[in-house]
Assembly symmetry: D2
Homo-oligomer: 268 residues x 4
């Protein structure tokens, strides 16, 4: 098999795990490394986009995985290094056991829908969790208009708007009031951040719908954040549309654990 590795290199533990993975895999498998990792080990690196691999190993936290998913179409096997790890699959001490199962072909691929974002017709990176449109001036609200399939459905002054997938419904979106959406449902949720409107509510829509978000006031800008990875300026003149991507986020899993993770999180 061909493997790629990306990791949060600021973490010593991640660096050590990269080493362990190499020792375990390289006798029989080809392993490509991101340039930043490769450099540390005195090897040649390959950008994630250019890796033609069967499995991409992501060692780090949710940020590491989300970033990896923006650059690969391969299934991602994730090892949690750091505090949160809501998206990650195994803990560091389970890594080698899990890799053994992968090379034995004993795993599942959990496919999740992604959001396609277009700014003025130009396609940005897909998002596995959410697209955030946030006022660029902290504590200064913006006036947003939300169109679904070309119909104006909400007009609200708020700090921002989150459009999330079911995967993202338990992350940032949840902290501003999103319901939990089970992964299998092909739906998006639209939630305002700090809406200055008592009647504002989260809205769950079909993933077949096309969302357009406009800034209503002249000269008041926003910042666009995709899966916490990119900060792109958005002005009232920009056209922003969000819809279902034809790509999927692929997570390597060893068991059906959605409800278990939710239950841990919710304290059932």
């Amino acid at each position: 098999m061909r493997f790629g590795i990306t990791a949060r290199m600021a973490s010593k533990e991640a660096t050590e795990l990269v080493h362990q993975a190499l020792v375990f895999l390289e006798p029989e498998h080809e392993v490509l490394l991101e340039p930043i990792i490769a450099k540390k080990l005195g090897r040649n690196g390959v950008e994630i986009e250019d890796m033609d691999v069967d499995v991409l190993i992501a060692i780090g936290g949710d940020g590491t995985i989300l970033r990896a998913l923006q650059h690969t179409k391969a299934p991602v096997f994730s090892v949690n290094v750091g505090s949160l790890g809501f998206l990650t699959e195994v803990s560091p001490d389970e890594m080698l056991y899990a890799l053994e199962r992968i090379v034995q072909n004993d795993y599942m691929v959990d496919e999740r829908i992604k959001l396609k974002t277009e700014l003025n017709g130009e396609r940005l990176h897909d998002s596995t969790n959410e697209v955030v449109i946030h006022t660029s001036q902290i504590a200064k609200i913006r006036h947003f208009q939300i169109f679904i399939d070309e119909e104006l459905v909400e007009s609200v002054r708020a700090d921002g708007i989150i459009v999330a997938t079911p995967t993202g419904s338990t992350c940032y979106a949840m902290s501003v009031g999103s319901p939990i959406i089970v992964p299998g449902l092909s739906a998006f949720v639209i939630v305002p951040i700090a809406p200055f409107k008592l009647s504002a509510r989260p809205m769950v829509i079909s993933s077949k719908s096309r969302i357009e978000i406009k800034l209503y006031e002249p000269r008041k800008n926003c910042i666009l954040v995709l899966d916490g990875q990119f900060d792109i300026k958005m002005t009232p003149k920009d056209s922003l549309t969000i819809s279902l991507s034809e790509e999927k986020a692929k997570f390597i899993r060893f068991g059906q654990d959605f409800y278990r993770k939710i239950k841990e999180k919710l304290g059932v």
Copy 2:
């Protein structure tokens, strides 16, 4: 065409509208009346279940419509008499114009999913809005266990649990924190009423899932309320399952107005 009529007969206005509808329709169409209405007019009545009609006219509020939908498979044309009318289609002064369009075949049928409820294997009436399981003792919480496809996903002490359709997501469910779910989405939302658990959240699931709700404590009963129409006792020994009905609720519409109604409600 064959019409049936049901109405909230406690209302004078509804009685007058029944009269107007009869004057308008009877020259050319057959009209069946519910027994309670028929009796007032000195005619013979037919129960809604036994009406084999093309269109059922429901004159009243949301309660009148929801009750009608529990007893008919015909599309329902609704005239709003009373305060709320979130589900109703036209106001009293639009009734004759709307009937004219119906006999001209100039209308749409808006099909909505319904909930099938089984108590100990016995099928109860379907629900267009929601199924409520509520403590039978006011202000005394119950301990509920919620299973989705046989997996325990929530265990919560609360006043009750609401399982709602997208249609119901803007009614009772919304008053306890449900998101708005657009009508086209084949999903249900499960929301606790007054949960004594800070982490409880609404959960949106696929309509393909089968929900089972159990009362965890011995000798503490609940009341089951389907679309506000029936009060059925439920004990901890009872088995309650909720799933997608093969029947649809059919609303006669003259325009796509979901977002308009939501916008009125939300004050956009």
Copy 3:
């Protein structure tokens, strides 16, 4: 010292603890028992109201304490038997140690404000946690009008209204969205239960204010529940006022633990 004892006699553990307390206290102190307990032990009992004691020992859960506080002006020392125990002070195995501290006069009294409720001018029992006005028909909303100091401040259709003290703000009121109010603040919070009004919000008011709640619709009744103890029918003709009681709920404490309990509850 003179002690009184009340206990949840359905619980075997409570009965055993009553026995232990008697063995510990009676050599040197006088102990009065509620009739239901006294009868089991073949003694003469005294109603809580008629006990002229220095300390009332309440063995049971929050319900036992709240009921005790409705009948006594003495400070209450509470031993938690049962699951919840948000109001209780010590666990069963700490009881004797705590009693030793009480007879040594080594304890604090934590005074909390109480709600005075008048129905048609007749004073009902005071409430330490909350007054609930709830629709008497499950899943059938009522229209409430809330007046503060004779000014109409809210008109809302809901399942009910909760008026809570700071002590009650972390109990039933919290499950419908109340903020946490620290015990020292002389304030009440008014929270609707399942309001059919998107803009409804909890309201925190001065404890000097006088609250009046009216049922707006004719012939639609409610149930009044004070600290979960009494179920009193309320009709639209009834006049209900809630204000600060001149009495306090007195809890015997051995440490300042409000934030600790909140932290346990909130998972800090």
Copy 4:
């Protein structure tokens, strides 16, 4: 009487109202102008801090008033120019009538508590509405520790924390879930912005308490925003305390209209 005038000079309507006020007042009263206004009229201006006036006239929106209140101890008479005006007292066409009442001494002063903020012991401007501590990187949460009277009461990862007065409880704080707090209550409310913690709740505390907020992680900064006016950088090394100011915000009123404004806002 001595008057001062501040206005949102970007607005033509505000400029015209300044002119009207001068024509009305100057025959008999002294009027001082802010430098930016004075310059437009070819006069000499005086900074708000240096105006020793009986009444400060603020012509603009809530931002104009909040800024004025940070620089004056005089009572503020506010004329609403712009959309929101939750804090403002009269509309433009009521201005001259209201000024007539002021010079006749026929008005009330509504005193509201303010927040005192100290950063590393240095006192910043007081806040009438709220103090916001917000992550300086949009969509990147921070870990906050909240101490009340030196006790740790909350530890939460969030976009930010709002500490608000009763006056501010219906502004920014409300958009993240604050209850309404009536103006007379001497209390503060602490509310997290987008908390990544399901159990987080608003907390209402006595205004006698001293709040300290710490950034828990190294090298992750925040922005401090006082009444929407100042953006000050805050690092994990900074010590931030918030308590009751000895100064009051003084609003000139012509009627008791708190509940009326709330009712308009809430749609009673």
